[in-house]
């Protein structure tokens, strides 16, 4: 299968602090890839660098056959969507307005409405709350808006940073069920998650991030058989 995203020797960080130490990473046209590992080792930094929020120090990123342009807005317009950590909603706007902002780069109104219907069928709660401001929503509902807003871009690849962060176990299950459905529709998804047990059921590729580099990579079956390595990393 041809690769949608291909990264070679990516180095990046914040100001003078180097975080990512030469990452090689690729994502297929469809399916869910999970980047796991303890906090503070560069998982979010990798997603932000791919999205263009952080500058690439060196290395190359090829997306859908072409090198990525500089700048987050330009990358978003190419179909590279990031659902950032902590939702980062437009809190003064309603649920529907947030979703419409997700489709900002699109022009076909009918297609946008169809995507919105898809989002509402995936998260019926958002339909109930569509004219409510997002600052009045619960944590789980906010996460749904964040993911829904990402879906509204109808991009080629969606990266989601810690979809379970700060949510109750029951809500986490609902969120992952929805993500599983999205992935099953043949879309490429990259999920960052501290705890691999949450993504083990839905993802098909795993990368363990440690100290700004991948310490281990493998499939679902390999993840199960290599339980000891993962456990020692996560301190379980």
């Amino acid at each position: 299968m041809s690769e949608l995203l291909s990264i070679k020797g990516l180095v990046s960080g914040y100001r003078h602090l180097k975080v990512l130490q030469s990452i090689d990473f690729s994502v297929d046209q469809s399916g869910m890839t999970a980047i796991i590992g303890p906090n503070g080792h560069g998982k979010s930094t990798l997603l932000k660098t791919i999205a263009g929020l952080l500058p690439t120090w060196s290395g190359e990123i090829v997306f859908d056959g072409t090198p990525l342009p500089k700048g987050a807005p330009e990358r978003a317009r190419l179909g590279l969507t990031l659902v950032p950590q902590g939702d980062q909603l437009f809190t003064g706007m309603t649920v529907a307005e947030n979703l419409m902002m997700g489709a900002f780069a699109r022009t076909d109104q009918r297609a946008i409405r169809e995507t919105m219907d898809t989002v509402f069928s995936l998260f019926p709660r958002l339909h109930e709350r569509r004219s409510q401001r997002t600052e009045s929503l619960s944590g789980g509902e906010r996460r749904m808006v964040g993911i829904g807003r990402g879906l509204m871009a109808d991009g080629k690849m969606m990266m989601i940073d810690e979809p379970s962060l700060g949510l109750a176990p029951l809500i986490i299950e609902q969120i992952y069920e929805a993500l599983g459905q999205i992935a099953a529709e043949g879309r490429a998804i990259v999920v960052v998650e501290e705890n691999p047990s949450r993504v083990a059921k839905v993802a098909d590729r795993f990368h363990l991030m440690d100290g700004g580099a991948f310490a281990w990579s493998g499939t679902t079956a390999e993840l199960e058989s290599s339980g000891e390595i993962i456990k020692s990393y996560l301190g379980a």
Partner: protein, 292 residues
């Protein structure tokens, strides 16, 4: 009864002018975290542009008005392209831009002094005459000010809430990184914001000069009031700035009527101190809440 009508008329006139100045300033701060210290000079430039249009071409007043508004927008665009865009990513942007815009303001004000001299011209862009409501004389110009301010601010409110371009501005104001992730080119949004703020300032300048006279430093006093209004409303709250402007206009008119014109500004500032002691983040501002 006449006293109340008198206060309402002059208060709303003052408030409408303050609102035009303050809304642009609030929009700039709300979207870019930028205190535009040259905002007052933008008003002056609008006023002089309208004055020159009438003086040198004899164009109709409506054309002169549009030229003044356009000149305000143009100077906003020029300042973004020559100064602001290069400072956006710098460390301590908020302080840097404050100092830089003070410099731009001084430069432009001296430029106006060089070109027009210090003579207090009267603004030709206004409508003479009065009519009476009860025993109160109302100038047609007051009506012009009210109508123009209402039209411009309503147009801005409509654009910000109903158009894609306005949604992009609000999204950038609420969360810049998230807006970029949606594909909003925020540097272009900033340019648009400075053009809009400049146009509103230009309109405010024309109206303010129609009640007094033109001079290179005429923008200073209204700019101070616009800043005060933004602080009282809560920095960056555009709707709040509009409401606070009307309220402070009425308050100032009442003070002027009962105590005399010279007490207007001092008592307004005293009110501001009281408001800020009671609500440090302003009437419509959000308290900074730390969420884990």
């Amino acid at each position: 009864m006449d006293a109340i009508i008198q206060i309402l008329v002059s208060g709303l006139t003052l408030g409408a002018m303050y609102a035009l100045g303050a809304v642009g300033l609030a929009l700039t701060f709300g979207t870019m975290r930028m205190f535009n210290m040259a905002h007052g000079v933008f008003m002056t430039i609008g006023a002089y542009a309208a004055f020159s249009t009438v003086n040198y071409s004899g164009a109709p007043l409506i054309i002169a008005l549009l030229m003044g508004i356009l000149a305000g927008g143009l100077i906003g665009a020029i300042m973004h392209l020559l100064v602001v865009q290069f400072m956006l990513e710098t460390e301590d942007f908020e302080i840097n831009i404050l100092v830089a815009t003070v410099g731009v303001g001084i430069l432009l004000q001296d430029f106006l002094l060089k070109v027009y001299g210090g003579y207090p011209f009267s603004q030709p862009v206004q409508i003479d005459g009065i009519f009476r409501i009860g025993g109160v004389a109302v100038a047609y110009q007051s009506v012009v000010i009210l109508v123009l301010a209402t039209v411009l601010i309503s147009a801005l409110a409509w654009a910000l809430t109903r158009t894609k371009f306005g949604m992009a501005i609000r999204a950038t104001a609420m969360n810049r990184e998230a807006a970029m992730l949606m594909g909003v080119k925020t540097s272009r949004t900033y340019l648009q914001v400075l053009i809009i703020a400049g146009m509103l300032a230009g309109a405010a300048g024309i109206l303010i000069s129609s009640l007094s006279t033109l001079s290179p430093e005429m923008g200073q006093n209204p700019a101070v009031r616009a800043f005060v209004i933004c602080v009282v409303a809560g920095l960056g709250s555009v709707t709040g700035a509009g409401i606070a402007a009307i309220a402070l206009g009425l308050f100032e008119a009442a003070i002027q009527y009962y105590f005399g014109v010279r007490y207007g500004l001092p008592l307004m500032l005293a009110l501001v101190v009281v408001v800020l002691i009671w609500r440090p983040s302003g009437l419509f501002g959000k308290q900074e809440v730390v969420r884990s």
